[in-house]
Symmetry: C2
Subunit: 186 residues, 2 copies
DNA sequence: ACCTGAACACCGTTCAAGT
DNA sequence: ACCTGAACACCGTTCAAGT
């Protein structure tokens, strides 16, 4: 009857996030999460319907975290520099937290990403930034092109796909510079 | 003593490829592979050291298959049109065989992609194509930019990341057109 | 030489029993 | 109201025993 909770939703998500950051989502076991929050695995089902729901909650947090960093990185300089900074922040997050990044951009199976309000508002801000560079006509297409390039680069880098030598940083800046220039104007 | 084999390496890879194409690599069970080739799961260990090795073999085949399609799609037109056709073939493969595509471009864990000779030769041909468009100076950077954009787009499309409406085909052609133009010349 | 059943350790998930 | 041990079905993998 006392029903004193040993843990909480936030506790569980935080522990799961830490574990995923360390070993990736597919290596996450409920037993490990449970131990990290001082409980047994079956108790997790009191707060989450299943394992996938826990992973999804972590993905939502990671998406917000990434958007926050991108917005902070944008700063106040010229618009094209702001756009590049946003892209660099995305790549940077992918390098520093590859497993969390993968959760946002490469969700597996049923774990489709669910974005927060906060996340959504931040993405809108990035959209407006791009609108100032391109004009209103093709903003959606431009955003998709820029994000696709950046994610593709980060994803391939993470997967070890760049095996032919050369300076990968140089390649990123080369592609980013050319693409951002190509997006200018209507 | 008779030792009449019931299956073969090729058999197993073909069955695994079919199963992965249908349900994705992480849903592949050795029991299903074994049943498909008319054997019991433990017998698979006579030909492959572990599950990951089977998945890796399928990935190698998928990589070759993709490169073959890209090369075939290039055709004989103007160089920029050939480059675009190669990118479109990549996106097309990602849409038609998403699970096999993911195996090539988004390998998980230890399953780093191993390319065969045939695959490598085809990639070289694509490189030369790009060199004719860009000149020799930044071919590596250009190839990485073009592949990053195409993979990023295909990956996000596959993950259902383009949720804001708009015509996704138009966005792809928009980005591809601007990027290829931006890569022209030294 | 190859195949097999049985066993092992490890999963996610369910549920009746405890407080 | 929350937590737990036990059980279940399902994994990949190992291995002694079969032919």
């Amino acid at each position: 009857m006392p029903s004193v909770p040993k843990t909480s939703v936030e506790d569980i998500v935080a522990a799961a996030k830490r574990l995923i950051a360390r070993g990736g989502a597919e290596a996450l076991s409920l037993a490990a999460v449970a131990e990290a929050v001082g409980v047994r695995a079956p108790s997790l089902y009191k707060r989450f319907p299943d394992r996938a729901a826990i992973v999804r909650a972590v993905a939502t947090e990671a998406a917000r975290e990434l958007a926050t960093r991108q917005l902070a990185a944008a700063g106040e300089g010229p618009v094209d520099e702001q756009l590049k900074a946003v892209a660099r922040a995305q790549r940077d997050y992918a390098r520093k937290k590859p497993h969390l990044y993968a959760l946002v951009f490469e969700p597996r199976g049923e774990s489709a990403l669910l974005r927060d309000e906060a996340d959504r508002r931040q993405l809108d801000a990035l959209f407006e930034l791009l609108a100032r560079w391109m004009g209103p006509a093709h903003v959606l297409e431009g955003a998709r092109a820029l994000t696709a390039f950046t994610h593709g680069f980060a994803s391939m880098e993470r997967a070890g796909a760049f095996q032919l030598g050369g300076d990968v940083d140089v390649a990123f800046e080369f592609g980013l510079g050319r693409l951002v220039s190509a997006l200018e104007g209507p």
